[in-house]
């Protein structure tokens, strides 16, 4: 009994000691990065301020890059990047070089460093094009003169909207039927009648195709072409409307579920 009490007391004491050690280190709560408001009409100097905010916040750039540090860091120090970026890679202007560094970071690796920077437009960073423009403005300001504007066109496709990256947790509540209408599917496919339009009727698609086949028909329309219909048309339409960039997993599931339930009965 004496030893049992001793063991209990000892366990509590050792545990309390480690809990105490945990109080001795800096205490900081870390919150999810907040999106910065990026107006379409920002001046270049305003872009620099917004860009710095994104650089230090949502962009998480400061986690790996330093500015003016004498210590060799994981990724290149960015002091003076605005002055040297126009000559960093042959054939690229400073804006093009900085944009490439953010969208395709592995395309050109500075000597002495390893690849590994994630594309800034992809999760977990997910900067949109406006945010990238402001970060470039900020980088240009480091030792150089910012020239970029909000109207500057970068060659890269529009960044994936944040709601795609985070689609699973998104809050849209539209049903599958409403989504099919909203996405314009009904423009080419009858959903309630057996008649063909531009594409085959879907009113009994749940009887003809499995859920997996329906999913494939949406995500890769040319994988299997219904007899009598031209290949390439649907995929061109879907790409043209940027369906694949906009649709979320949840929406896709709702649409597939609804289509799978269509058994030809009105």
């Amino acid at each position: 009994m004496r030893h049992s009490l001793g063991i209990v007391l000892f366990t509590v004491l050792v545990t309390a000691f480690y809990a105490f050690v945990g109080q001795l280190v800096p205490q900081k709560e870390t919150y999810p990065p907040q999106s910065t408001e990026v107006g379409e009409n920002l001046t270049t100097s305003e872009m620099v301020d917004v860009g710095r905010e994104i650089f230090e916040g949502k962009g998480t750039c400061i986690g790996c890059h330093t500015i003016g540090s004498s210590e060799a860091g994981r990724f290149p120090d960015l002091a003076g990047i605005g002055a040297r970026s126009s000559s960093s890679k042959e054939g690229l202007s400073d804006v093009e070089y900085l944009a490439e560094s953010m969208y395709e970071p592995d395309k050109f690796i500075v000597d002495g460093f390893n690849p590994g920077m994630p594309p800034a437009d992809k999760p977990p960073i997910s900067l949109n094009q406006q945010e990238v423009l402001t970060v470039i403005a900020y980088l240009q300001s480091l030792g150089g003169q910012p020239t970029i504007t909000m109207q500057t066109k970068l060659k890269y496709a529009a960044a994936i909207p944040e709601d795609v990256a985070t689609n699973v947790a998104s809050s849209e509540e539209m049903g599958g039927e409403a989504l099919l209408t909203a996405q314009g599917c009904a423009a080419c496919h009858h959903l309630t009648e057996p008649d063909r339009l531009v594409g085959p009727s879907l009113f009994d698609v749940g009887k003809r195709l499995t859920r997996g086949e329906i999913y494939e028909s949406i995500m890769d329309p040319d994988a299997t072409i219904a007899e009598g219909y031209p290949p390439g048309l649907m995929s061109a339409t879907m790409n043209g409307t940027r369906f694949y960039e906009k649709v979320t997993l949840k929406q896709l599931e709702s649409m597939v579920n609804h289509l799978a339930s269509l058994d030809g009965r009105k």
């Binding site: 000892f10 480690y18 945990g22 280190v25």
Partner: protein, 565 residues
């Protein structure tokens, strides 16, 4: 063999695992989160998940070394080993039931409190749940056949059951690790999170490093808890014979814990390396961002563990006749361990007032910050491991004297291996200060390999040198002071706390993501709490765990009484 009524309870618990899957279909809806009363959903799931992991680690680890001990007993025909293996196994029965119950509770809680996230994981990994549940049944069948069949099956059949138990347990671990590591380093999915290839989702960047890290850590953790059981029984022993037995049991448990602990940092390097390879952002969050201070706490914990492990060996040498000749070396070993622990625990930047920071010229101490970087820390850890290994080597040699003709040469070669290894590790540590990051990061690999080489080669030489050694005296089992038993408790508590801490960082590393880069945490708990808060939660979890463990020990004790009668 007649089906024993005792089988029903654990098997019913295992069957509970299926209930959540059936219930899930009924309650899955569009709600993303539900709140758990008072403590909130995050802490509730955190506590249950960690407790489940701790028990699971114990249940998976014990059969590994029990099988080895049983095999040694079988080969040497020494009944003591068989008895020891059985005693360890006795702890498993209740622990397995608790693991299953906590696992079912965890699944329920995830479905009720995080339905959308759970739905996503089920939609991604649904097909892995069936083998998982079936393996769980197989685990129950193997475990209870192994335990209740002790002494009833022919030895080889019984050993085969042990092998089956371990294989199934490892498979269960690997499947569960796939879900956990997918959350950290998802792969095999499209940009929108849709599953593209299940095998790619399973075999993601951190899957194998976590598998290996957990396998080793589980053995270490399981060994420490088993040693604590030996200490608990030692303290309650009434005869010298009992004390001798439980002293030996505690030693074997701690030996297993320390042996598995030595390579653990290397597995940790690999895991960290894979995290960086998957995402530099994730790596920086781990080591240089929000969690960098967590590794100072980790350094203190591991430092304490190394100190305690060495201390236990040094006390243990007191009961070995002939080991007194090594006593003079202990102070040097202590100095080495202490310096290494101090270096490891030095932070790169200091918590300072504005005035102090001004005097220092920033948050970095002009002298100490030099030691607060990876070059110094890696060097310290490697030397710490070597020092602990030397302590063990001396302990092992305690009452032995080599009789081979080349003993002097052997000792000299071993000394040279140590000296060259230490010099090489220190050289690489210093060299790291003068090269760019790309080169510096890679230096940890030759450091680790050289230490591994030293330990393996010295062990091989030692085994050959002491094969027909002369005994200088006996080991007086049972002649251990009470403080040695408390040292074993200290090791077990520290291990458990460390496990809680590393469980926290593995999960917390994702920060505001349920599945990193794919599924954002939009709940009220999306922020990462302070390390102080995490320390309190971990401490409470550890205390709950030891309350359960006390229950397991008590039940195992009841079983002892029955055997005694």
């Amino acid at each position: 063999m007649k089906f024993d009524r005792r089988y029903w309870f654990p098997l019913a618990l295992v069957a509970c695992l299926f209930i959540p899957v059936l219930v899930h279909a009924q309650i899955a809806d569009e709600t993303a989160y539900r709140a758990f009363p008072v403590i909130g959903s995050r802490v509730a799931v955190w506590a249950v998940a960690e407790l489940h992991l701790m028990f699971a680690a114990f249940v998976l680890a014990v059969p590994v070394f029990v099988l080895i001990i049983e095999y040694i007993g079988y080969k040497t025909d020494d009944r003591r080993y068989d008895q020891l293996a059985y005693e360890f196994t006795r702890l498993l029965s209740v622990a397995f039931s608790l693991t299953a119950a906590l696992g079912a509770l965890l699944t329920f809680m995830l479905m009720v409190l995080y339905p959308k996230f759970t739905n996503y994981l089920i939609s991604t990994f649904g097909w892995t749940f069936f083998p998982y549940a079936l393996l769980f049944f197989a685990e129950a069948a193997f475990l209870y056949s192994y335990y209740y069949g002790w002494g009833k099956f022919p030895p080889r059949v019984h050993l085969a059951l042990g092998v089956g138990l371990n294989l199934v347990g490892t498979a269960i671990l690997f499947i569960a690790d796939a879900w956990v590591t997918f959350m950290m380093s998802p792969s095999g999915i499209s940009d929108s999170g849709e599953l593209v290839n299940l095998w790619d989702a399973v075999y993601n960047f951190t899957w194998m490093p976590i598998n290996i890290h957990r396998l080793i850590a589980n053995i270490s953790f399981g060994g420490s808890i088993a040693a604590a059981y030996g200490a608990y029984k030692f303290l309650g022993a009434t005869t010298d014979e009992e004390r001798a037995h439980y002293d030996w049991m505690g030693y074997i448990g701690s030996f297993i814990a320390i042996c598995a602990f030595l390579p653990l940092p290397f597995a940790g390097y690999w895991l960290a390396n894979e995290i960086y390879a998957y995402s530099q952002n994730l790596g920086m969050t781990l080591m240089g961002g929000a969690f960098s201070w967590l590794f100072i706490i980790q350094a203190i914990l591991i430092g304490m563990l190394f100190l305690a492990a060495n201390y236990y060996l040094w006390i243990g040498m007191e009961r070995i006749e002939g080991a007194q000749r090594f006593r003079r070396l202990i102070k040097y070993l202590l100095i080495s361990v202490t310096i290494c622990v101090l270096v490891w625990a030095i932070p790169h930047s200091l918590v300072a007032t504005v005035e102090e920071a001004r005097k220092m010229g920033g948050a970095h101490h002009p002298l100490l910050s030099v030691l607060g970087v990876m070059s110094a820390k890696n060097t310290a850890v490697n030397i710490l491991i070597l020092t602990t290994y030397i302590s063990f080597l001396l302990y092992r040699r305690g009452n032995k004297e080599a009789t081979v003709t080349w003993a002097k040469t052997g000792n000299l070669v071993q000394f040279l291996i140590f000296a060259v290894t230490v010099a090489f590790v220190v050289f690489l540590g210093i060299y790291g200060y003068f090269v760019e990051a790309k080169v510096r990061i890679g230096l940890s690999i030759p450091q680790v390999l050289s230490v591994l080489f030293a330990m393996v080669s010295v062990t091989v030489i030692d085994l050959m040198m002491f094969k027909k050694a002369r005994e200088r005296g006996t080991i007086r089992w049972g002649k251990m002071p009470v403080r040695a038993q408390y040292t074993l408790f200290f090791i077990a508590i520290s291990f458990t706390w460390l496990m809680g801490l590393m469980g926290y960082v593995r999960s917390g590393l994702r920060q505001h993501w349920h599945v990193y880069g794919v599924m954002r945490d939009t709940s009220v708990d999306a922020f990462t709490p302070t390390l102080g808060y995490a320390s309190y939660v971990i401490s409470i979890i550890v205390l709950i765990f030891f309350s359960f463990i006390a229950f397991v020990f008590w039940l195992a004790g009841l079983s002892d009484s029955k055997v005694g009668k």
